[in-house]
Symmetry: C2
Subunit: 269 residues, 2 copies
């Protein structure tokens, strides 16, 4: 692994691009390769065995590109397949849950934290356990919001209909008097405005992306892998048609050096 | 193939159960085996190559149960993988598009037909081509409604939020003065009330299920495969957790003789 090797970043779809944006902003010199499994999105409600299989296929694709570190830009994968990933691939792997949990524990004043995510993320209980380990006095209010991942993938990011869906899921959380809400799915920062509209100004919305980027930087420094050469390249691969994804990348103001559709499933498999 | 063999019915998820309901109602003596690929739903926006692969895996599972006929209870599959299915499996295969198109052409008075479906179904143009072949004077107004499949899979079948999503997709169709609207996705009959509310009483909503069941009966008669013995069994297999699906089956008042989760993907594939 060399300093010039790229950072691999992957997600079930386009949500992980919100993590990539922070990485690019904090570490502009790093080369990045993003993989979005848009042909098989959403992962959120799939069985654990399916998610593990898809995750290993996703990671193998990036591994073959000789990446020097891997960022798992999907909460569902982090909750359900992280140990399998670490067993299969010998390189620095950065997840979301630990940096996000630490950031939330630092942020909360009243020790009441909400977490929203997919069914897979919420039902795994991983956020709950990690935050409790950090501070057992904190009360945690988890809420699965299955459709939010789909509406972001469909680019339905504003308007009455999207607000209605967001309100449907979050109205129950308002009564819990949380002061911090973890956006526990990388798709949700794209709905930040609608979520903020629903939760009100007293609740801090925590997008874990910045904390993940900081953790990545730390890991690169520890492993002497930081790239201090010129501006890095930005390559993108998607298993589905890349048109929709390209819109998101432009919406997030990330440059595109290369974008391509790829097939992860072996013929006949 | 014997008369006692079952009818295999499959779909990307639970939507095909609306077709099964009509089959069971028209042909109560037939044994049925339903497969819902709920671990990989939705198919609607996936690339064609992925849909073909999944379809062949789904059908192979039913083929191994020694079925005597196969009903493809998913418009997306019918539009994108029908010829591959017919090449791979030598048994009577019944799709949706042909019976639905014929029924719509018989129904319309003003020769203006709307079609709603997934992106895969609508972009394939198969409904358009078939209806034009049947009557070239008919004007067809297709509209892809990608989120409707997801909201049905999430059991969001009524209320303001669901109505808002339906209205968002259909409001443009109202101006087209259609008198017939093909529900070109087996999930949509579960949203019939909301769709009817939006389109108004002048528009006839065509659920293809009854026409598909009639076509199946015709094919069984032609092949001397009709089962005239006692009431048939109802077996169900789902690739995801079957709890949600079980709710739909009960909602549709279909008896359950057997229900089980299955894994279609070979280990290591």
């Amino acid at each position: 692994m060399s300093q010039a090797g790229a950072i691999g970043v992957f997600d079930s779809g386009v949500g992980g691009l919100t993590i990539l944006r922070e990485i690019v902003s904090l570490l502009p010199n790093e080369n990045t390769i993003y993989l979005g499994d848009t042909a098989r999105v959403p992962y959120g409600a799939k069985p654990k065995s399916t998610i593990i299989q898809y995750t290993l296929e996703d990671a193998r694709f990036l591994w073959e590109q000789k990446i020097k570190a891997l960022v798992v830009a999907c909460n569902t994968i982090c909750c359900l397949a992280m140990s399998e990933l670490r067993q299969a691939f010998d390189l620095p792997i950065i997840g979301i849950i630990a940096p996000a949990s630490r950031a939330a524990v630092e942020l909360t004043r009243n020790k009441r934290i909400g977490v929203i995510g997919t069914e897979g993320t919420i039902n795994s209980g991983v956020y709950y356990q990690l935050i409790k380990q950090l501070d057992n006095e904190i009360e945690i209010f988890p809420k699965a919001c299955p459709l939010l991942e789909s509406i972001v993938e469909e680019n339905l990011l504003e308007g009455e209909v999207a607000q209605g869906i967001v309100d449907m899921y979050l109205s129950g959380l308002i009564k819990k008097q949380i002061d911090t809400l973890i956006l526990g799915c990388t798709h949700y920062p794209l709905l930040r405005q609608l979520i903020s509209e629903c939760m009100g100004p007293e609740v801090t919305l925590l997008d874990p992306a910045a904390a993940v980027a900081r953790e990545l930087k730390q890991k690169l420094i520890e492993n002497s892998l930081l790239n201090d050469k010129a501006e890095g390249y930005r390559k993108f691969f998607f298993t589905g048609q890349p048109q929709k994804a390209e819109k998101f990348i432009r919406y997030l103001n990330i440059k595109i050096d290369h974008i391509e559709q790829v097939d992860l499933v072996l013929p006949g498999a």
